[in-house]
Each structure stands twice: as C-alpha cells, then as structure tokens.
Homo-oligomer: 297 residues x 4
C-alpha cells in the first residue's frame, strides 16, 4: 500500500472503486483534466463533487470511479493518480474500496457511543471494521468481549500518562489501525501522542462547539440557561476542542430539564453525531484544510 | 432565445454563466465527455454535480460554467450544448445567468406567502423578478401596488372559470412569464390551462404530502391528532397535489395547538418552504424526471 | 392492586409519588377542587398540568403528588382518588411510582429497536422493566439471552395464527405484563387478541402517518419522491396504523438516498421515536381520548 | 393601572382574563392555595403551569383565570392577588388581557425583522401593538409610514450617544411603551439607559449564544467552520449578549455556504426566533429569575 496519507478504505460492496480527495489552488480546466485522465485510462466515474472557496481561491474535489482491469490495476492506478494530482499542484489522497479501514475505539466508562458504534458496524453501516476497544477503565471489557471485540485495558493516571500513551501507540501500531475514535474517552491525548499516532482521531464533544468547550459542558449549558444543547464531532488536534468540525447537531431543551435530563438527551445527540462523522470519514467524504472541513455528503 | 424548455434564467451577479441540467440513460464517460466539451471551447467549470439512479440506470447532471468570449457567445454556446447533449442521448435545458426569470405570482386572500416572496425578492434573494400579481380577490391589490408591482384582478367563479383561465393565460403570455408561483392561490388550475401555460407552476400545499392532500389539511391534521404539521412545495400537474415534490418541511405540534394554532404555525412553514423551492428553481437546481425531482442543492 | 386501568407504574427514584391522569367534561373549579382534595389530605403537589379542548369542552389533567404517610397509604389514597374523580364526572387512572411497570417486547428479525430499548432500560431511562422478549423468529434469541432477558419463540404462520395468539396471550398473562411494545414486530395483532390483551400496546410505524400506512412505507416514500421520511409511535388498535399517535419525527432525505438509505436513516428515527413514546407512557404522561392523545411532556 | 412591574397585557379576544406569573421559595400546598384563592372568589382557572427547580428550591407558576364580575373587578383582583402572593413569600406580576401592550421597535438599516414583526402584528399574532419605530438611520422610515406606524429618527454617534439616549428615553416615556424590541438595532444600549427604561428590552443576537458573542457572529462562525448557525433572543441587560435567553434555534450549513449565505440563512432564523420570543413575552409566558428564564409554552 502506497497511496498517500491517511489511509482509509471503504467497503467493497460491489465493484471495487477508487475514491480521490483533492484540493489545491483553483485554476481553469481542473474538472475536465481530472475526469479526462480517468476516462483516458478506461475508468468510469460514479460520483464527482466539486467545491470552490472563492475567497481563498481553493478547489476541492471528491471523485469516485471504477478503474478498468484487475485488482492490482487499482492499486497501481491509485499511485499514478497521486502523481497526476501533484502535477496539477493538488494535494490528494486516494482510497481503495477493496481494503476496509481498521478502527480502534477508545472508551472510559460511558457506554452509549460504544454500543452504538458497534451495533452500527454489525448492521453493516460502516465501510470499516472495529478491531479493538481500548479503555482506561474496565467497565466495558465484558460487553466488548460479548460482541467478540478484543478489549485492552490501559489505565491512565497523572503519573503514568507517558507510559500509558506509549502503550496506546504500540497498540495502534500492532493493530494497523487506520482510524481512532474517542467514544466519550475522558482523557486528553497529548499533542505528542497525536503526532506520533499520525492517523486521524475523531472525538465527540458534548456541546455545540465553540460554546461550552472544556469540561462538564452540560453543567455549563444548564448554568447559562440555553434553550438548545448540542454535540460536535471533530478531529482531535493539539488544541483541545478546537480541531476541524465534521458534524454538529442540537436538541431543544427547556427549563424543565435539569442537568441529568441534559445528559440523557445529550446521549442521543452524541451517538448520532459521532456515528455520522465516522461514517462520512470512512466513505472518504471528509476533506480537511486549515482548521475546517469540506464534507461531500 | 432558443435554448430549450422551460426557460428560466438566474441572476448575473458577476460574470455571466451557463447552467445546464442534463439527464438520460447512464453510460461510461459522461462526466469526462461533458467537461471535455466545455474545456475544449475554453469554458471554465464552476460547479458540477452528478447523480446516478442505479435502479433506473439514469444519469443526472447540473453543470455551471463561464464560457469564453462575449455575451453573444453564451447564447450560441447554449444552443450548441443542447445539440451536444442530444448527441449523448440526454435531455437538457440550458440557463443563461445574464437573463433574469420573469415571475407571476397568483394569490387569493392570504397574504403571508405574498409578502414573504416580495420581500425576499427585494432583498435580492431571487435570481428573477416578480413582474405581476394576479388575484381572484382584490384583498392584496393595494399592498401589491405599495410594493410597486402591478396587480391584476381576475375573479373566478364556477361559471366563469373558462373565461378567467383564458384571461390568466393571456396575462402570462403578455408578461412573458417564465414561472408561475401559486402563493396560497385557492383555485385549482385546470389541466387544460396547465398544458397551455407550458411553463413551470410551483404550488405550496399546507401539509406534508401525501398526507392530507385535498382541502383543509390543517383541519384534517387536527382531527387525526398528528404531532407534526408540514408544508410541501411541488410543481403543479393535472393530478392535484400529486406533482413532483421540490421541498418539504415540518414543525412539531402538540395537543395544545387548536386548528387556529396549526394555521398560524403553518404560515411560517409555508413561507420558507415555498421561498426555498422558488429560489432553487430559479437557480436551475431542480431537475424533474417522471414524478420526482433531483434537487442539486 | 385496584387502582384503575391500565395499570402502569413509573419508577420510585426518591419519595414514592402518585400520578393521576384525568379527563372529563369541563366545569369551573376543577383545578382548585383537585388540588384542594390533595392538600386537605396532607399531600404535596409536585407537578400539575392542565389542558382544555375548548371545541370539545373537555378538561384534561396530569397531577403528581407525594402523599402523607406510609407506603400502604399511597395505595389506599389511589383508590380514594379514583372515587373522588368519578364524583367530579371524570375518568381517571392513578399510577404509583413505587411499582415498576412490566414490559413485554415483541420482535421479528430487525434488531435496532430491540437493542435500543434494552440498552436504554439498562441505562435507567425507563420507569419500568423489560421482563421478556417474544419473537416469531429466533434471530434475536441469543442477543436477548446475552442481555439476561428471557426469549420466547412463538412462530406465526397464516395457518397457526390463532394458536400463536393464544400463546402470546398466555405469556402476557403469565408475565403480568403492563405494557406490550411492538419493536418492529412484523405481524398484525388481531382485533380479538388486542381486546383480550386489555393492556396498552405501543407500535412503531416507519412513516409519518397517515402518509404511507400499510406495508413497505420506505418503498412508498421513495416511489413518491418525498423529501422527508418519518416514524410514528402509536397505540395499536383494531384499525391498523390508525391508532392514537403518541410521537412522530422526521428526517430530511434527498434524491441521493435510495430505498436502502431510507431504511438505514429510518432506523435512527424508529429507535428514538419508539423509545420516547415508551418513556412518556411509563411516566404516565400520555392520556388517550377518542383516537388522539394528550402528551404532558 | 397598579398591578406590578413590568406591565404587559395580552389581547382580549374573548372574555378578559388575568394572568399571574409567580416565583419564590418552594413550600407544600402552593398549588392548592393559589387555585383555592381564585376559586373562593368565583374565578375559573383556564390554564395553570407549575415548575419546580429542585436544586434551587424555587417554585414557579403561570396561572390564567377568568375573574367573576365586571371589568373593574379584574383590576382590583389583580392588585389583591399581588398582595396574596406576597403573603406566600412569592414575587408576582399580574397581566390583564383587556389592556394591550404598547411596543416600541428599534431598528437600524436591516429590514427583515422589522417587516416580519409588523406583518405578524397586522396578522393578529401578537397580544400587543407596535406603536412606534425608532431608527438611528432613516432607511426604514418610508416603509414604516407605509405601514401606518410613526417613525422617529434618532441618530447616534460616539459623541452624541448620551443625548440620543435621552431622546430615546423620552420617546419611550411619551409612548407609554411596555416593551422595547431591538430588531437588529446595531447600537449597544448603555447600562444607564437600560436602567432608566425600567421595562423589558428584547434583543436578537445572530448566533447560538454563548458561541460567537460580540460583533460579526456570521464571520466568526464561518472562520470556525461550524456546521450550524443560530439565533438567540434574550432580554438585554448591562452585560452585553449575556442577558436571560428566551429562545434559540439553529439551521444546518455546509462548506458551500459563504459568509453571505450564512447572513441570508440567518435572516430566517432571526425573524422566527425574535417573533416567537416577543409573542411569548406578550402572552405572559416568560418568567425571569437570576439570569435564566422559565418559558411556559
């Protein structure tokens, strides 16, 4: 495998396809050149979405096609496409639908996103596979095993955080994980660990960021008397709660909702927002640039 | 003007563009061929959206580009593109952003959609111009004139419907109307009139069709005890309330809402749903096939 | 237990309370009389919600209070209250929070509502307990047992339906079930069975009723080209899909969604709409009159 | 008029009613005592809503009733009720539906909330009357006069702010205004002016507060790459953008929306959120305590 970073590979339900995400300085003829390149090699374009940020002068594209020939051709074509994109001044990544992404899920004690992700995966909703659960507590160990998914207990304390992060990194490398999902994992990953992981990490924050960043957002929301609560799925970066936002949603609340009710209502938001973000990511629909995302939904 | 049917032309805020809506039997290479055709003539593609209905084997595309050369070139290129599309087995229409659509609004007594459409138009939200109001009652005549829009009173009774429809048709022809909007117009247009109009007619129905088709949908909704009310914008066809749906939205209601409350809440839905449908139509985002729409939003 | 029909009893997290649902012909002084009756006996009212249907002249009330004295007092007071309500010409039921409702869940093969209900119950969201799963297929038997909930296989065919329904009825009686939840159970309960059950049965229909009643609603929705799909939780009655609606919600869809996508998106709606309806029912928030509900949320 | 502060009076469509908003330390028997007081004087309770904040130990109530006797009785009963509420240790205000609130609307150049409020008022949606428009620019003067509403031009510059605020205050006093609505008024009212006004002031902020407080919230939202934009209606206090929130709503946005699109989409949110807040306020549904609101909807 040699097709760019980060490597994420949706499912091959039918014919294997290639999915390219491109962006770079806008210039005339990009749509025609990219589709012409694919057509000249006998590929058939299934989907193509473009976006232009006119202020910034940036061109964005997601394009999915069926290459001609055998499976080996697809891998070679992926590499060729990256070179072609570079010749256009574009940054690109290419995804092969024939290789499924490997997902590691980090958890603490809360179980709602954990169950939700696993059940959706088992229902066939994800173009990837949950290959392991890692928890800093053991509360979900038995449930994970009940689902047939390996559980790794990596406790974290203030004193042992460096060693714990070394274990987490080793685990991800052993697993060959393509994606890390923080499913209400209650520890902050250090900037150092995020850099070493070098793969996308999706987090769910239980507020409509940027409101109520930091700890106990439902308590903050209740204290402020807002009439909506929210959840935000974003890529984790070294700036806590400030990474590129993938998806957000909200629910109406009233004075009748105490903090516990916000927590309960918020669980539904957290589940659906995180699952949608993971799903889009796995299908190669999320393109990050600067601190923002383009989501080709 | 010779560029296909129906002729609708969004605004030219900046450089004039061409917008093509295509559909026809799916075949390999369509994306590349269409973009190649434009590129070969020096055009620059701004947006291109494709959709495939895999069950039906149909390809749909909306593509917007800046043609090279003077304004006259754009009109000629529009005609050439239609011939090109036909050579691919595609049905197409082409819109020139340099010509603004002319909109006739039909009203009765209710004024909320009437005010809403005019105020949005005056705010610059629409790629077209409201050129006349036609009412079967005179309730809105003064308000129309206050906005500086001509008002035409065409009363309709059971006995005089054929003559009234003849007057409506003559008015639309005189106006050179590209689009008719039924803004809570309380008369049914006959199949004969719709055919003679030969231009798109957008209607707002005050329910989430297909629920509560026909008359007094809020009364029907209240009697059934639903927990949501809705509004549906659709193209009017000879089958009442069964034309292709462009947009729908709903609002939560409770047992505390009587029929009058449903009517009041529904007004907000009707306004925003109708305005969104008109806006999308004017921007060439709505493609009709069979009894359904593809909305390239 | 002698406190009216149907008997449903929310959880006693803290002090045991009584919850009364009343309705009957409106008359002056009802609020004062009811609260006065409770106050005179030393009770403390926690919540009281009233609604008047002015057209029909009906008064509705949900009132929750802490009675004075020991647990035995609460049961006696419930009986006394029913007599008092009758003296006002009101129909009433009274719920004791100290007794948890017993819930039987009927399933077929689809597992999303099944998992969702059980996980919410285990998370403490429900004022009641799932005491058994009954399935006409065995697909969910192992999962049920994994959760520690008894699974009963009662196959149903056209020929054996009467015998199967007799087994279902016997099971519900053996369980002492207070509520039956049809969690995407794909068989119609006969009018005869519903009458014999004599307890509330909540069903989830996968459309915004009354649109797309009957079979395969997602296929119907796709064929009609609607822009919203919905789900409806309602009490099952002898008129299929026409019972009193408890809760409804919708989600936006586009031309890009095939039938399979509607099914997938609909699963989330079905889960949350059914769970909310069950939750409200268990908390004594749903009052049925005629073919409609008053939901004191 | 002698019935407490602030004086706001919904419409008398039918029989005149009294509406009381109460709050104070929780204690047993409050519901019974209040309804008993009304019943003993021959009043008939139409609606009664209670809420308890258990953490804070505060009881909240909105109660609406038809008093016995002539119109003069209602005013006297309002005064008596205030004394009664005080005897229970409650803060209260009482509203007479027979006197309509007088509303002053402050505007700058943006016209969408201005038109929306006036059209809703003319449609009969509000329990009050817009008696004047005050603008620091003259852009909306002609439109106001077209609606038959007096327009007052009070320009504001950094140098003349104190004098301008003195004129605003004098105008409100002359008008006998009960409510001030800031309909996208682009000047900050000084803490001194707010105190001297001594009447409720409702503002619309174009973000989901507390996110993007301060200036240019749509620009802030675009820069952060959020997937939702919002609007917040709140009472203006000396702490800018931090007053008690009455209502909030949001709309989904994508990368395809530039700042101008956010502004356009936001206009719809601002209109409906502000109108809903004004409507609730006028119907005596909003109770302020601390920096939060209880909305009896």
């Amino acid at each position: 495998m040699l097709v760019g970073f980060p490597l994420v590979f949706p499912t091959a339900m039918e014919t294997p396809t290639l999915i390219a995400l491109l962006h770079g300085p806008d210039q005339p003829g990009l749509v025609a050149r990219v589709s012409g390149w694919i057509f000249a090699r006998g590929g058939n374009i299934l989907h193509a979405d473009q976006h232009r940020d006119r202020e910034a002068g940036i061109f964005f594209q997601r394009i999915e096609w069926v290459p001609t020939g055998s499976a080996g051709v697809a891998e070679r074509e992926a590499g060729d496409f990256l070179a072609f994109a570079a010749s256009l001044g574009m940054q690109a990544k290419v995804i092969l639908s024939s290789r499924r992404a490997r997902i590691a899920v980090f958890v603490s004690k809360a179980d709602h996103c954990f169950h939700d992700l696993i059940l959706r995966w088992k229902a066939g909703d994800f173009s990837g596979d949950i290959v392991a659960i890692a928890g800093n507590h053991t509360d979900l160990a038995e449930a994970a095993r009940g689902y047939g998914v390996p559980f790794h207990h990596i406790p974290v304390t203030a004193d042992t955080k460096p060693q714990a992060e070394a274990r987490q990194l080793a685990l991800l490398n052993d697993l060959g994980a393509d994606l890390v999902v923080l499913a209400r994992y209650m520890q902050v990953l250090s900037a150092d660990l995020l850099e070493k992981i070098g793969r996308p990490v999706i987090n769910i924050h239980h507020s409509f960021l940027p409101a109520f960043a930091g700890g106990k957002p439902y308590h903050q929301a209740h204290a402020r008397g807002v009439k909506l609560i929210g959840a935000t799925a974003h890529y984790a970066t070294r700036d806590l709660d400030e990474g590129p936002i993938i998806h957000q949603d909200v629910a109406q609340v009233t004075h009748r909702h105490g903090v516990e009710d916000l927590v309960r209502k918020g669980r539904d938001l957290e589940k659906t927002v995180l699952a949608q973000a993971v799903r889009w990511h796995l299908e190669g629909r999320v393109l990050v640039y600067g601190n923002k995302t383009v989501v080709f939904d």
